[in-house]
Amino acid sequence: MKRVEEQRMIQLAKTGDAQAFAQLYRAHVQAIFRYMYYRLNDIHLAEDMTADVFTRALKDLPTYHDMGKPFLAWLYRIAHARLVDYYRKIGRRGTEDELDDSIMVQQIDEHADIQLLRKQMAQALHHAISKLIPSQQEVVVLRFIEEKSLEETALIMDKKVNAIKALQHRALKTLAQLLKQMGFDGDEFLSGLS
């Protein structure tokens, strides 16, 4: 959805046009779901949290003001706040030191099928992303999954571009460490998969 069209829809939704809000929802629901999924690594929980985000957005829409940022940035901020609430509620925060051994990928069998390895690698990567600290999770999802530019990511996360660059570097470095702990440490292996 183009920016001008999005702004028009927001105004219509604010004045009571349900279909306008439905269009905004349709345009952004998958992005919010992915954001939730890669940060929670749980598809059902991600669905619930996505519903929570849009319910909150509906409630807060009258107070929404276009500050020059995309509507999705506002939704991401809501999603971020909901995640913070969620982590506070369960009394747990994702840290780069945490690793859940129960879902750790088994040692790689070098003779295993390449597709299986890809699948295992994908699972390990999902798991590693979910173990990053929240700001690193966010930058990985926005930069590499949502393919946002540095500037867009900075806008959404309300940070400067240089801060995003640093976060991006630390996130990738931590991911490499986490994957190494899971057994995915061979440079050739990564090369072969990619």
Binding site: A18, V29, R34, T55, L150, A176
Partner: protein, 401 residues
């Protein structure tokens, strides 16, 4: 962050953009920055790998279900208002809060009207009485307010006695109320006289009251007054309140509806005569208007009971009836040939079990807002609530036309 890390972060960002947009390969970037070859290669491949993760999506069913839920919530939510309406909302909230406080105070005062000593709201009742007394000194009807309060004290004691509660300490309040009345004026009005009679009866006829010390104090004060006013007309002589010269000019057309009973012409004559031959000692509180000093004419209004009266005993119809008003000539004063209950310029309803808080509140407004009217404030809706007399007072009350 050390300078090298910051520099590396910038190089990594440039390479990631180039690789993700396929403007360069991983190897090309690594060759360009050989000093960071190992970490750059690893992180660039991780970035590519992350990008190639199978995209997850929310199922269409879940998306539709959530949309339906949102649309339902959209329909039931409040109407969205622009932000500039916020001050109005706040102003409305303030006004509502003030109204709630005001209504709460008024409601508390009204609710306290039936409170008796010992009740929670009795303090509120006494406070409100003090407010009414204070305002009455400004308005100029303190005498009426004071007798009303004294009657209230006596009524409270009677109700406490019926409850079986201790009322000895409240007799001192009654004594204070009587002191206030007597201190305020020298000449007793009929209503005040009636009140003193009722108080005397209560103090002398009710068993056990005489034993209370305050009783004798009150009796010492009121007995001489009752003895020196043997001719005081019975309850509610309007002459005490209605301005009237000794030579009333009213031409009351004797058009009062005659009851079926022929015996009715015999009874009320003495009372009527007494009314028209008012003693000079009665001091009118309101100067008479010139229209009231015309030539006296012998007036012998024939007062008849209403046709609904079942007994031959003549009585007056309750409160002003429409049958009398049209028969009085415009210039003639309205003569209350029979006084209203408890007299004053208007009827003071007596507290009773059927005396509701709203009536009290209305009556308080009457006190504060009425203009003294020799015609009994009949044009003031606040001062004409229909009183519901208690059984104790009903016997002593005389009806008026």
């Amino acid at each position: 962050m050390p300078l090298t890390d910051e520099h590396y972060a910038h190089i990594l960002a440039v390479c990631i953009d180039a690789v993700l947009t396929k403007r360069a390969t991983v190897d090309a970037c690594v060759q360009q920055y050989p000093q960071y070859a190992d970490s750059l290669r690893q992180e660039l491949r991780l970035a590519l790998l992350t990008k190639k993760l199978k995209p997850v999506t929310m199922s269409d069913t879940k998306v539709d279900t959530l949309q339906a839920h949102l649309m339902q919530a959209f329909d039931t939510r409040k109407i969205i208002r622009p932000r500039f309406d916020m001050w109005r909302k706040n102003a409305a909230a303030i006004i509502i809060a003030l109204l709630v406080v005001f209504a709460g105070s008024a409601g508390t005062v009204a609710a306290s009207s039936n409170a008796l000593p010992g009740d929670t709201l009795y303090a509120v009742k006494r406070w409100w009485e003090s407010v009414v007394v204070f305002i009455s000194t400004i308005v100029g009807n303190t005498e009426t307010v004071l007798i009303h309060l004294a009657e209230t004290r006596l009524d409270e004691i009677q109700q406490l006695r019926l409850r079986g509660a201790d009322y000895a300490t409240n007799l001192s309040d009654l004594a204070s109320a009587i002191d206030d009345i007597l201190r305020y004026n020298n000449d007793l009005t009929a209503r005040e006289y009636d009140f003193l009679v009722a108080t005397h009866q209560f103090l002398t006829q009710i068993e056990g009251v005489q034993a209370i010390p305050s009783t004798q104090t009150i009796l010492d004060e009121i007995v001489p007054l009752l003895e020196t006013n043997p001719e005081q007309p019975p309850a509610s002589d309007v002459l005490s309140d209605v301005p009237m010269t000794p030579t009333p000019t009213a031409t009351v057309v004797p058009s009062v509806i005659v009851s079926p009973s022929p015996t009715v012409t015999t009874t009320p004559i003495p009372a009527i005569t007494q009314v028209f031959t008012a003693t000079p000692s009665v001091t009118p509180r309101i100067p008479p208007t010139p229209t009231r000093t015309s030539t006296p004419t012998p007036v012998t209004p024939i007062i008849m009971p209403t046709s609904t009266q079942p007994t031959p005993t003549p009585t007056w119809t309750a409160f002003p009836t429409s049958t009398l008003a049209p028969t009085v000539t415009p210039s003639a004063p309205v003569l209350f040939v029979t006084p209203p209950a408890n007299t004053g310029n208007f009827i003071i309803p007596q507290p009773s079990v059927t005396w509701y808080p709203w009536q009290q509140a209305t009556w308080d407004v009457c006190y504060l807002t009425r203009t003294v009217d020799p015609y009994g404030n009949q044009n003031d809706p606040y001062c004409n609530p229909t009183p519901i007399p208690s059984p104790d007072w009903q016997a002593a009350e005389t009806e008026r036309p």
